[in-house]
């Protein structure tokens, strides 16, 4: 680990050569993963990743150097290189003062206190539950991963933060087959916590749920195409808002005008039923932390309130450019990556309707129960989503399952077309990719309805 003295020395070495602001990020991450397929524990991997990066900012330019060698000589060398590349400026370092976290994510059972054999039992339990769902289940892949990172962040403004983050995750992917047709089902759970996540029978629950989805989809018919009302099931649907508007609310896109939300704070950008929050301080939630990856305390940010745009998600650099305080959204995949504005846990606040009412009031529509992922172009707000589990809604009732459907639309339009939001709130976990960096994120909402959305299926 890096002590305060070495951190200060490195920051000084950087700013002696150039730049206006210097930051040191040190990380030591121990991780483990297990994979079970065909009922056999196939793969295991233990990893140790340690390294440090120095970031120097001058004006709007970033110079970033990282190294996997964290001895004093390598670190000072990296710091000088970063300062030199930044050029100009130069400056001093404020005395480092440690900050205490406002929110602590307690770990009851650290992953390294549990032997690999015991973790393997969790995977086996999920696998058995999947196979017990029915003879249609032909394959189950269960994945487990845990990681514990020690992080030290220090910067020339005197910030010094130490944080330990532990995350665990279990995923279940199940293939079911009948009469030559194959379908897959997926479910996962994770948290910023220890092995206690898996208490209360969670692994078999995930395996069973993934299997049930795959079996259900065996009865599916090809999805129709065209515009219709889309009902998004609680939890999974949140990822649509993550893509459709979340990315456009990240300050790097906004700063460059490459976002449909740029310059629109205070305007009505969504239906009055939509209140969108990003909150990295939710205790033990997958996308949370005590601080972000720049040492800014995690906090709750209201992005859209009753349809009115309230603000954006900032890292330190973009906040400084905009003359506002950072919002705790400066995140990075590892010490190898510069921090950029990212979402943490992003969700739509629960509404007053019930899921039953929403379905019952839909004459003809599409019920998207599980989304398989999506993509957005923040500059235009255009998005696309795969639906891995979807159903037709006929005369206010959920009818047969539909396969091969894609949801396509525009973030602004979709948010304005939200006309019902239910109270059955749920969060889901994922890994969001941006600029080649993956970070853990949560997304959530209650069941809600979006009118007039394009469903792309295989039937014209």
């Amino acid at each position: 680990m890096i002590d305060e003295h070495l951190a200060e020395e490195a920051l000084t070495a950087a700013l002696e050569r150039g730049g206006e602001f210097a930051e040191l990020y040190f990380e030591r991450r121990a991780s483990m993963s297990l994979n079970l397929e065909d009922g056999k524990l196939e793969k295991i991997s233990h990893g140790l990743d340690a390294g440090a990066s120095i970031r120097v900012i001058r004006g709007r330019s970033i110079s970033f150097v990282f190294t996997e060698k964290t001895d004093e000589r390598s670190l000072i060398g990296a710091a000088r290189l970063a300062g030199e590349a930044a050029g100009g400026g130069g400056g001093g370092v404020q005395p480092l003062a440690g900050a205490e976290p406002a929110v602590v994510h307690k770990v009851k059972t650290p992953p390294d206190s549990v032997v690999a054999g015991e973790k393997a039992e969790l995977l086996k339990a999920a696998d058995r539950a999947a196979r017990d769902r029915g003879p249609e289940v032909v394959q189950a892949s269960i994945g487990f991963s845990d990681e514990t990172s020690q992080i030290v962040i220090a910067n020339s403004d005197g910030c010094l933060v130490r944080e330990e983050r532990t995350r665990v995750r279990l995923t279940a992917r199940v293939v079911a087959s009948r009469n030559g047709a194959y379908q897959t089902g997926y479910d996962s759970a994770g948290g910023l916590k220890g092995m206690e996540l898996f208490a209360a029978g969670l692994p078999p629950q995930l395996g069973g749920s993934a299997a049930a989805k795959a079996i259900t989809m065996l009865d599916s018919r090809p999805a129709p195409s065209g515009k219709m009302a889309v009902v998004l099931h609680r939890g999974f649907g949140g990822v649509l808002f993550h893509e459709a508007c979340g990315h456009g609310l990240e300050a790097d896109a906004v700063e460059k005008g490459a976002s449909v939300f740029a310059g629109r704070v205070g305007e009505q950008v969504a239906s009055p039923l939509v209140t969108l929050i990003d909150d990295g301080s939710i205790v033990n939630e997958w996308g949370s932390g005590s601080f972000d990856d720049e040492g800014v305390p995690a906090q709750r940010n209201i992005l859209i309130e009753n349809g009115v745009l309230k603000g954006f998600m900032f890292d330190r650099l973009r906040a400084r450019n905009a003359g506002v305080p950072p919002t705790g959204n400066g995140r990075r995949q590892s010490f190898r990556h510069p921090p950029i504005p990212r979402m943490t846990n992003t969700f739509i606040l629960a509404g007053d309707s019930t899921p039953e009412e929403i379905i019952a009031s839909t004459e003809h529509g599409f019920f998207a129960k599980t989304l398989s992922g999506g993509q957005v172009e923040p500059a235009t707000g255009d998005f696309v989503f795969g639906v891995s589990e979807g159903y037709l809604i006929e005369s206010g009732k959920v009818s047969y399952p539909l396969r091969g459907a894609t949801l396509i639309g525009n973030g602004l339009v979709a948010m304005n077309n939200v006309d019902l939001v239910a109270g059955d709130f749920e969060m889901n976990i994922g890994v969001c990719g941006k600029d080649g960096q993956g970070v853990p994120v949560g997304s959530g909402q209650g069941t809600l309805r979006i009118l007039n959305m394009t469903v792309g299926g295989t039937e014209v």
Partner: protein, 447 residues
Amino acid sequence: MLDIARQVLDAAMAAGVEQAEAFVQLDRSMRAKVYQQEVEEMVSATGSGAGIRVIDHGSAGYAYTSDLSPDGIKAAARAAAEGMSVTARDEFAGLPAPAAEFPQLDLYSPRLQEVRVTDKISLAMTLEKAALEHDRRVRQVEAATYSESESTVAIANSLGFSRSYAETSCFAFLQAIAEDEGQMQTGISFVTGREPGQLDAAAAAAEAAGRALSLLGAGQCASMSCPVVMDPFVAASVIGVAGSVLTAEAVQKRRSLFAGRRGERVASSLVNLLDDAVHPDGLASAPFDGEGVPSRRTELIKDGVLQGFLYDTYTGRKDGVASTGNGVRGSYRSQPHVGATNLRLTGGATPAAALLEGIELGFYVIDVTGMHSGVNLISGDFSVGASGRLIRNGGLSEPVREVTIAGNLLDMLGNIKKIGNDNRWVPFGGSIHAPSVLIEPMTVSGR
């Protein structure tokens, strides 16, 4: 490098295992991103680490570390051996014996180091400047980037394999944003090479600008079933997806729509697809794969008929065949697994412009989104977001966005009616050498 690999191997064998393999990687990389003619971000890095694979009585363990000190290596060797205690015994687990011959490839250019950093930054600046000057409707350029890396890989295993190689690669990338009448559209381009002298920044800039401009004014079109022409970027995405299920692992685990179809017709007779790990321009080329098996060229589909699959050592043993040299690994942090190297769709004869000939009403696809979520790899069901231009009377007509194209991957391969002769390297989702293709019919969903 080989010395370090042998030290790591010795540490692994010290745990008393039957077989061990050390994979050591050393790299140096640099990236410069320009915005408004200033360096927005400059990243430089050096990295090194080792991955250790051990096998004993059919059980395998893996560990990696970025700490190459004697203590770091010892700790990783211990962790790898510990892992073996929980994995299932598998009669097919084992390392490959060393081969006698390896392809001679020229993957390293000393020019990469020689070119000055300032010249590399100017290359990124040219990307931005040339795109903005291309047309006044190009309002800005996102991510005008020059990126390079130089890496050395060394592998040593207990069966006597001990080799290393070095490679260089670089690319230039940009995303142009065009705006007209309140609508924004984006277009990307990139060029790849072993050294910066091979990168034509002006051509990339013109292409990115052209792609963004060609979509300005786009709206939804009506739903229809029609001929669809995919440009090489889009065709590359489809080829990449097909390649991912042409691995023996996908087949053995029943996760591939190609399972059980070897020798069958799976595509139009125009389709010739190969995995080429020895192509001089392919950025995934190497003398040997991630477990030391010599690289080669493997025919996957010939004249529309499925020839076979890609194998690493483990999946090869399961099927009683030799590895095809496709035990790939992203870095020392990952274990080898079966994967494509450079995929090439070859033999296209039609000039790109002639692909549109005779099409009364069709769709020319410039961009697809949601590829990773919109394809069911077992059933082949396929539905992705698309933008492009309508084709009317053999020529490009009004721009289209916010539609989906859908079908089944096998039907799509079967319905390839023409293949262009405009192959180019596309480095996204793998390394793919793709031409334009005409598929008829496909379902386009819009209004």
